[in-house]
């Protein structure tokens, strides 16, 4: 068989169920690939090879006896290093947590393990999922598999890179302003920020309580749907968790998008954050694919992107400071400069200002849901194609607009899929946003797009290690 690491989760899952692919062989192939190629990407910060082999062996035995318990059974996966893993260090890429070994699994990790997944290890993240890319933290920043001089975006940088590089077939990241979708976009894969409260945040080191979402990244939308089936669900221990039944996400992938009404926030794209010409052309081409499949495109009117960005950042900076205040007061030097810069002013935000930002959020979230009520999904680019991996000017972290943050403020499910490649070799990305808890429609649309286009056929070429 061809290199099993190039299989999608869904494909590998089918072969495993048919006993044509051994979880042990698949895991060994992933471990070998990581060993041979991750030197150039720094996507893994902790490799759990022994644990992976044990998981794989157990999976194989169980599957041979009784068949797979889930589509994830025997599938190698990795986790952004902010998901607690019992007995395995969880560092958030910070010197402050260099020796942190959680006693208990995060709820997500427990679910993945119960589904029979094979844990390969922990992947690189921006510091505390917020400060990066950083060269002054516990590990070096991850790199983009399409070109190692380029950024994989963040903060789930290692997770995005690991999937695109074929190191793992499944992963979870988190998204507070775009941290799943950005890496998915930069690395040319599928990534879903689910509805706020859809996936438990228990045991995930927090970035910002009000905007944190845990969610899957994988090669295809179908893969993402399979992962969602495992991790979605009510968790009474998570105060933000939604008690809403989990639908059958795979069954939602009917391939049918005829009659789909797609809203595009045209004023955002014309006035506030115009895409570069090539990005705009690629976005229009993606919309044409949907038109050809029977969809209708409409304008949607929303408050300014700047208003969403401001509300999110004010709330975030106050919450981040609350989370990290004790360390900022006593040992600020242990933070990376990027993270420290981004949170230190949070200590000066007054409660009234925080409350006014929360009032703004009410208006903005209401407007988002009112707009979403007029369409089936919204579409816009996820981000510009990745640029070179270099430090981000801290000023721009406060001033820059994005296409992603507004959906953290609204809480809506938002998927990024690959929609082409630039001259630099970097992927283009399409963002598909749905109504609250309407992951089924979002996934159906993303899956239909992937099947109608050739982008899933292309994988990055990685360099074998140069021998000294």
């Amino acid at each position: 068989m061809a290199d099993p690491t190039e299989l999608s989760l869904a494909e590998a899952s089918r072969l495993i169920a048919a006993k044509k692919l051994s979880p042990v062989a698949l895991t060994e192939a992933c471990l070998a690939r990581i060993d041979a190629l991750d030197w150039q990407l720094d996507s893994f910060v902790t490799l759990t090879a022994e644990r992976a082999r044990a998981d794989a062996k157990a999976a194989e035995t169980a599957i041979m006896a009784d068949g797979p318990v889930s589509p994830l059974h025997g599938i190698p996966y990795c986790l952004k290093d902010i998901f607690n893993t019992a007995g395995i260090r969880t560092t958030a890429q910070s010197k402050l947590l260099a020796d942190n070994v959680p006693a208990q699994d995060s709820v997500c990790q427990a679910k993945l393990a119960a589904a029979g997944g094979v844990l390969l290890g922990k992947t690189a993240t921006w510091e505390f999922a917020h400060g990066g890319p950083s060269w002054d933290v516990l590990f070096p920043p991850a790199r983009n598999p399409w070109n190692r001089d380029y950024s994989p975006a963040g903060s789930s940088s290692g997770s995005g890179a690991a999937i695109a590089a074929g190191f793992a077939l499944a992963t979870l990241g988190t998204d507070t302003g775009g941290s799943i979708r950005g890496p998915a976009a930069a690395c040319g894969i599928a990534g879903l920020k689910p509805t706020y409260g859809r996936v438990s945040r228990c045991g995930v080191i927090p970035n910002c309580f009000t905007h944190d979402h845990a969610g899957p990244l994988a090669w295809t939308t179908e893969d993402v749907a399979l992962l969602m089936q495992v991790v979605a669900g009510h968790d009474p221990q998570d105060p933000g968790s939604a008690n809403i039944p989990v639908p059958d996400y795979r069954a939602a992938l009917t391939g049918d998008v005829s009659g789909l009404v797609i809203g595009v926030p045209m004023r955002w794209l014309a006035d506030e954050l115009p895409p570069k010409p090539e990005t705009s052309a690629v976005f229009d081409a993606a919309l044409s694919v949907f038109k050809d499949m029977g969809a209708e495109i409409r304008d949607v009117d929303l408050p300014p992107l700047r208003a969403y960005e401001d509300a999110k950042k004010i709330i975030a900076v106050a919450e981040l400071f609350t989370i990290h205040g004790a360390d900022l007061r006593t040992r600020p030097e242990l933070f990376g400069a990027s993270l420290r810069y981004r949170i230190i002013a949070g200590g000066l935000v007054r409660a009234e200002e925080y409350i006014q930002a929360m009032r703004a959020r009410t208006d903005l979230a209401r407007a988002m849901q009112a707009a979403m009520a007029t369409v089936d999904v919204m579409m816009l680019p996820t981000a510009e194609p990745a640029g070179k991996l270099e430090p981000i000017d801290p000023e721009t972290l406060f001033t820059k607009l994005s296409y992603t943050t507004a959906f953290n403020v609204g809480g809506n499910p938002a998927l990024s899929v690959c929609c082409g490649f630039a001259g630099t070799g970097m992927p283009f990305s399409l963002q598909i946003v749905g109504r609250l808890f309407d992951e089924p429609t979002v996934l159906r649309v993303g899956d239909a797009y992937e099947r109608a286009t050739p982008w899933r056929d292309r994988r990055p070429a990685l360099l074998a290690r140069e021998t000294a």
Binding site: T322, V349, E352, I355
Partner: protein
């Protein structure tokens, strides 16, 4: 000298002194007219409210018109239920269409009628209730008792040298004085239960979100509750049924199935496990309060409840946590006026709100984290207990003296813990102290277990007669 002048209300023919439970069958069967009941209340108000100041505005014409409609409907066989024809009044922060809302403040236009009634108002009127007027309150449910506002502060009908608590001061006074059999107050840190306690009536702070907050001037968004105030628990159950219900336009409104509150009043509390939070009132409450509350707890034991003492953190913790959260939200609410016309505030409201200007977001968030911790700890008790009991208030009413110490500032509030938790908390009269002033018992239960607190409170009232006593007015 014993100033304890108690007068049972049984035997009086003054319609105004009868409660909902007594009036409802008479109204339903046409034996008395809603007009007669309304007139009796209006008459009593005109005779006695000059000394009590419970009302800011009596809407007599509107009330009589509504009473005549109710009379016609009932006569035509369109009886709406136990609240049909029953007079009620509203704390003047609750909107009524066609009537101004003043919040007892110069900050609101005193003569501009409101366009739309609050859902609470709409529901009570839809149930056939007769709205008699708007009741005095601390300014914006916070700044009081104040003597520098356009209307005087309400006084305690049991002894007008004393105050009726607050902030639903007029609500407590009006029901105790038999001006109306029922009123709605609001409760953020204790503002239904304090007046109910020191006015010797029944007051319920329901579960957060059970009654809509829409159309009610806000104090603290995550702590505001509307609550019924009546003379008996039976009446409270009837009023509660008339004003509960999900309001999708109130972001805090709960969407839960509603039980039959009246049907829950079986009188049976045998085997109910009640945790008495004695460390909240001993040694802090006055001796007479401790004695009365302890006796009330013994009475519950005699009724067959299983009573055990439990310990929870000092009430100061709940007060500090709640006050920090409130101060910030209050400042955000009143900031536009504080910045442009601070002189229009009563002094107490301005003083209580202005500190919120300096609290940092981190401290507000830490207070919210503290709230999570305190509330989880308290609610864990409901794994073992059906209800918690404690004092309704740690003393009797305060003297009505502007020169007296500002009790509000230094006082520790035994009502605060259940406010913070958002759980249902009921106060019932359980005795009298010096100066003819009432003492009260407080009972709480898990979220949405109003039936539990109502059942326990009603069983207590079936075995006692504190709730039958009536103040003598001059």
């Amino acid at each position: 000298m014993d100033l304890h002048i108690a007068q049972p209300s049984a035997g009086t023919d003054d319609l105004a002194t009868r409660g909902i439970t007594e009036l409802a069958p008479l109204l339903r069967d046409g034996k008395i007219s809603p007009v007669a009941v309304t007139e009796a209340c209006l008459d009593r108000i005109s005779r006695y409210d000059g000394a009590v100041h419970a009302f800011i505005r009596v809407t007599a014409d509107r009330a009589l018109a509504a009473a005549r409609s109710a009379e016609a409907e009932i006569a035509a066989g369109r009886y709406r239920g136990p609240f049909h024809g029953i007079p009620f009044a509203l704390k003047d922060i609750i909107d009524v269409a066609g009537v101004p809302t003043t919040a007892h403040s110069r900050l609101l236009p005193a003569d501009t009628p409101i366009a739309v009634s609050a859902p609470v108002t709409q529901q009570l009127e839809a149930a056939g209730g007769i709205m008699l007027g708007k009741l005095g309150t601390f300014e914006f449910a916070l700044g009081g008792p104040s003597w520098d506002l356009p209307w005087p502060p309400p006084l305690n009908p049991w002894n007008t040298d004393f105050l009726p608590g607050g902030s639903s001061s007029g609500s407590g006074a009006a029901v105790a004085a038999r001006f109306v059999p029922s009123a709605i107050g609001t409760d953020t840190g204790g503002s239904v239960r304090w007046p109910a306690a020191v006015c010797g009536i029944v007051g319920l702070k329901p579960t957060y979100g059970l009654l809509s907050r829409r159309g009610v001037q806000p104090n603290t968004f995550s702590l505001d509750h509307c609550g019924p105030m009546t003379r008996t628990v039976r009446d409270c159950a009837l009023m509660l049924a008339a004003c509960t219900g999900h309001d999708p336009l109130d972001p805090g409104s709960a969407d839960v199935p509603l039980p039959d509150y009246a049907a829950s009043l079986t009188g049976d509390v045998k085997g109910k496990r009640i945790g008495v939070v004695r460390n909240w009132y001993v040694p802090e409450a006055t001796d007479e309060v401790v004695t009365a509350v302890d006796s009330a707890v013994e009475q519950l034991w005699a009724l067959g409840a299983i009573v055990e003492e439990v310990t929870l953190p000092d009430i100061g913790d709940y007060s500090d946590c709640k006050t920090l959260i409130s101060t910030c939200e209050l400042f955000a609410i009143h900031a536009p006026d504080l910045r442009t016309r601070p002189q229009l505030f009563g002094a107490k409201l301005r003083q209580r709100v202005i500190g919120g200007a300096f609290v940092r977001a981190e401290d507000y968030l830490q207070a919210q984290r503290w709230r999570t911790e305190l509330v989880r700890q308290m609610l864990a008790l409901f794994l073992r207990y059906d209800a918690l009991a404690t004092a309704g208030w740690l003393s009797t009413a305060d003297p009505a003296s502007p020169e007296a110490a500002d009790f509000f500032r230094t006082r520790r509030l035994v009502t605060m813990p259940f406010s913070l938790a958002g759980i249902p908390a009921l106060v019932v009269p359980c005795g009298f102290g010096a100066h003819n002033l009432p003492i009260s018992l407080q009972i709480a239960a898990r979220p949405f277990a109003e039936t539990t607190v109502l059942r326990i409170g009603d069983a207590y009232q079936q075995a006692t007669d504190w709730h039958l006593r009536m103040p003598v007015l001059h």
